[in-house]
Symmetry: C2
Subunit: 177 residues, 2 copies
């Protein structure tokens, strides 16, 4: 961030009065531009003991498998976002269950929230997807799962076997180099 999105002047990193962190503050209009974590919403959608996975047609992790997930948008709920992503990526309508996994992806500034879901109709290949399939636990391509957060969600989903054991929480940080 170099310029104020409100007035177009330069911004500087400084700690505003009554704050304890550095923020981007406009040199001209004094507006403070906060930067905060983003929410990614996803769904593990099941039918007959098998879960829906999508092979990604976009970077990052092109060609790897993922549960339907993406950035939550303004104007929707967390659950609504999880259902929307499932519709967009796998053309699938789900009856959402409960929130069962939360992953703090600290270094990326993201929180990933996963719902259970029941696949209620057909599915297909969305625009950001190469291929969609239903996988039993022993059929999942564990070494080709796109993101660690989705892998965690899938593992906990099968451990729970449909029971609501509250939210499994996991923290991901880059390994110290």
């Amino acid at each position: 961030m170099k310029y104020c999105s409100a007035c177009g002047a330069r911004v500087s990193l400084k700690t505003p009065r009554d704050d304890n962190r550095q923020r981007y503050v406009c040199d001209a209009c004094d507006r403070v531009h906060y930067q905060n974590p983003l929410i990614v919403v996803g769904c593990v959608a099941e039918r007959d003991g098998k879960v829906l996975l999508c092979k990604r047609a976009i970077e990052p992790r092109y060609g790897y498998w993922t549960v339907p997930a993406g950035f939550m948008e303004l104007g929707e709920t967390v659950a609504g976002g999880a259902a929307r992503e499932t519709l967009e990526e796998a053309l699938a309508t789900v009856e959402l269950g409960h929130l069962f996994a939360m992953v703090d992806v600290v270094d990326a500034g993201q929180v990933h929230l996963f719902f259970t879901g029941r696949l209620s109709g057909d599915y297909g290949v969305g625009e950001e997807t190469l291929e969609v399939g239903l996988f039993a636990e022993d059929e999942i391509p564990w070494d080709e799962i796109a993101f660690q957060s989705g892998k965690f969600a899938l593992q906990k989903y099968f451990e729970d076997r449909g029971a609501d054991n509250g939210v499994h929480i996991h923290e991901l940080r880059r390994s110290p180099s």
Copy 2:
């Protein structure tokens, strides 16, 4: 948003290629400026059946009572943010329990996440706080609670009586006027 934070040129609302929503896009460098929901993290901290509330010393809702809560920051986990807010607003150290409430504050573009907590030491009056107190369920000033999300969290907290019943999810939207 009127100006690109990267290059300072004007932005326009348009739907980028491969997208299905209007975004602010820079007229000069084509950068897309996404706007997404923010996370508020809070904690219902208990000792001996009483929960910790803070009387707000800041707007909005100056003088009303709240559970410790605030915007999640980059570099922390959801749980870490809940503990930090409790420390900042009530000078209290908590042993965090489980995630038990999630409130979609749709029109504000916020998701509020609440943890249970056990107050492990003393507490005091933080900079954004006028007064701090411990309240049993029948002592809580229900009509003077600052935010509906915090009221929902307190209600569910006492309904659960410490049990982990998963996450209670609630959706708040402005009433149609």
